[in-house]
């Protein structure tokens, strides 16, 4: 395959612009990141600075490989991370736009690499359950119905990649935040702190400068894990419950 890539370059000698690159002899069996590896090898041989992009597991489970390919976070394939997107999804001679995730709360560090610390701070604000140290309790000591654990697991499959924010016209982090709130509020272990969690995570989400959800559902459409917007409705319920239904003033 022969491709023309229009890649966003920012940092170093680039002030923030698209740069055109041509790559040749690309196998359809390569992943998108392997294709970028080939381009970077080419750039290094030409004594150019390689394109900075993030990647880690390359198995579709870590959520590191963040980029917008032809206007879609993680590219055109449904429920797929960039590393699991293969070049057979493209045609010979294609022009491909590659841009970083864009949001005020995700500032560009360099080229395609953005800072997603804001997600970490949202999790730190309440995306956990408090447990006593000591001996682990018996497995299955708390009975949980299979449907309930499956529902919680569906929400827990969020890999925190940020595609939801990148896809959202409002750069809202509601799908990400709601996945964690919903996951933990569904389980008995998480219910204990559910109200406090909804309050603190939403507060942090707002403080990070993410937008407000207008239920466009572009987040669910682009989510590599297919996290459903029903979690956002649940977050809304949890949050309103914490405000109006709590016996404490929150």
């Amino acid at each position: 395959m022969r491709l023309t890539l229009k890649v966003w370059r920012e940092g170093g000698k680039y002030v923030g612009q698209f740069v055109d690159y041509k790559v040749d002899n690309i196998s359809t069996d390569m992943s998108f990141l392997e294709m970028l590896d080939v381009l970077n090898e080419q750039l290094i041989q030409e004594k150019e600075t390689p394109i900075a992009f993030e990647h880690d597991c390359r198995e579709g489970i870590c959520g590191t490989c963040s980029m917008v390919i032809n206007g879609q976070p993680h590219g055109p394939m449904k429920s797929t991370t960039t590393c699991q997107l293969h070049m057979r999804s493209f045609n010979d001679g294609d022009v491909i736009y590659i841009e970083p995730f864009r949001a005020k709360a995700f500032p560009v560090i360099r080229d395609l690499v953005v800072n997603r610390d804001s997600f970490d701070r949202i999790i730190q604000a309440g995306g956990y359950v408090s447990v006593n140290t000591g001996q682990a309790q018996d497995a299955n000591a708390i009975p949980i119905e299979k449907d309930t654990s499956s529902q919680a697991f569906d929400a827990a499959t969020c890999i925190g990649c940020g595609a939801c924010v990148a896809a959202c016209p409002n750069a809202s982090a509601m799908l990400f935040t709601s996945a964690k709130v919903s996951h933990l509020a569904t389980m008995p272990q998480g219910k204990v702190e559910a109200r406090k969690r909804a309050q603190s995570m939403v507060k942090q989400m707002d403080a990070e400068g993410f937008g407000k959800c207008s239920n466009v559902t572009a987040c669910e459409a682009e989510c590599p894990k297919g996290i459903s917007v029903t979690n956002i409705a649940k977050l809304n319920r949890e949050y309103m419950g914490s405000v109006f239904g709590s016996d404490k003033v929150m």
Partner: protein, 240 residues
């Protein structure tokens, strides 16, 4: 009351206000539509004029109308505020190429809610300037006394008829109703989602009702100027 202001200024609280005011405004649309369809009665405007008199003099309706003005202002102002904030949250740079897909809603309707809203707001200002202002404060309307009624009523019907004789107004009204259709198509179901009401049993019903009202309400509103332009009055009065 710090807890309440915290809620109202939170991102979720702001959306809750948008959904509650939006649903309230939909209830107004239904009432307004049922009243305005009387324009299509073939009695020279008698029933409509009497209805208009009732709507501007009944104390209970006067009281509710202040809630309506507040609802419109809050929905419009907060909507614009959220829109500006959301644009800022996107950051300075947009995507060179952007594809917006949606699940269970129309992506074009959903991602342009503010634009449909702005169109509706501009329409409302012109529409209220034309008729509401003329009815409330304008001295330009002729007074008519109908047989069997003591009090004279303002002839709003003739004013409406004259306005809809102008094809530019008719086209503008129809375009505004298209904007309303898009706004309702996403807005109705989105309001329930913002209120946390999403359930496999009820959501399909909510979406169905949303699509129905998004088609029927703007369509019935739009046929009023079209029919009046062509002088078609298909309804007959049940009052006299």
């Amino acid at each position: 009351m710090r807890w309440l202001t915290n809620f109202l200024f939170s991102s979720i609280g702001q959306k809750v206000v948008m959904s509650l005011t939006g649903l309230f405004l939909i209830s107004f649309l239904v009432a307004h539509l049922s009243g305005n369809l009387q324009l299509l009665i073939d009695d020279g405007g008698q029933q409509f004029n009497q209805y208009a008199k009732f709507m501007t003099s009944n104390p209970l309706i006067k009281f509710i109308s202040f809630g309506l003005y507040a609802g419109i202002l809050l929905h419009a102002m907060q909507g614009l505020y959220i829109w500006i904030n959301n644009k800022a949250a996107r950051g300075g740079k947009g995507y060179a190429k952007k594809v917006t897909r949606a699940v269970g809603t129309n992506a074009t309707a959903a991602s342009n809610m503010a634009w449909w809203g702005i169109l509706i707001l501009i329409f409302l200002i012109i529409h209220m300037g034309d008729f509401w202002f003329a009815m409330k404060f304008g001295g330009s309307l002729e007074m008519l006394t109908y047989e069997g009624y003591d009090e004279p009523v303002k002839d709003l019907f003739t004013k409406v008829e004259a306005t809809f004789n102008n094809p530019i107004f008719v086209i503008f009204y129809v375009l505004a109703m298209l904007g309303l259709a898009a706004h309702l198509l996403h807005g109705f179901q989105s309001a329930f989602q913002s209120l946390g009401l999403n359930h496999p049993k009820y959501t399909p019903l909510i979406k169905g009702i949303g699509t129905f009202i998004a088609v029927v309400i703007p369509l019935l509103f739009a046929i009023i100027p079209i029919f009046m332009y062509f002088g078609i009055y298909p309804l007959s009065s049940f009052l006299h």
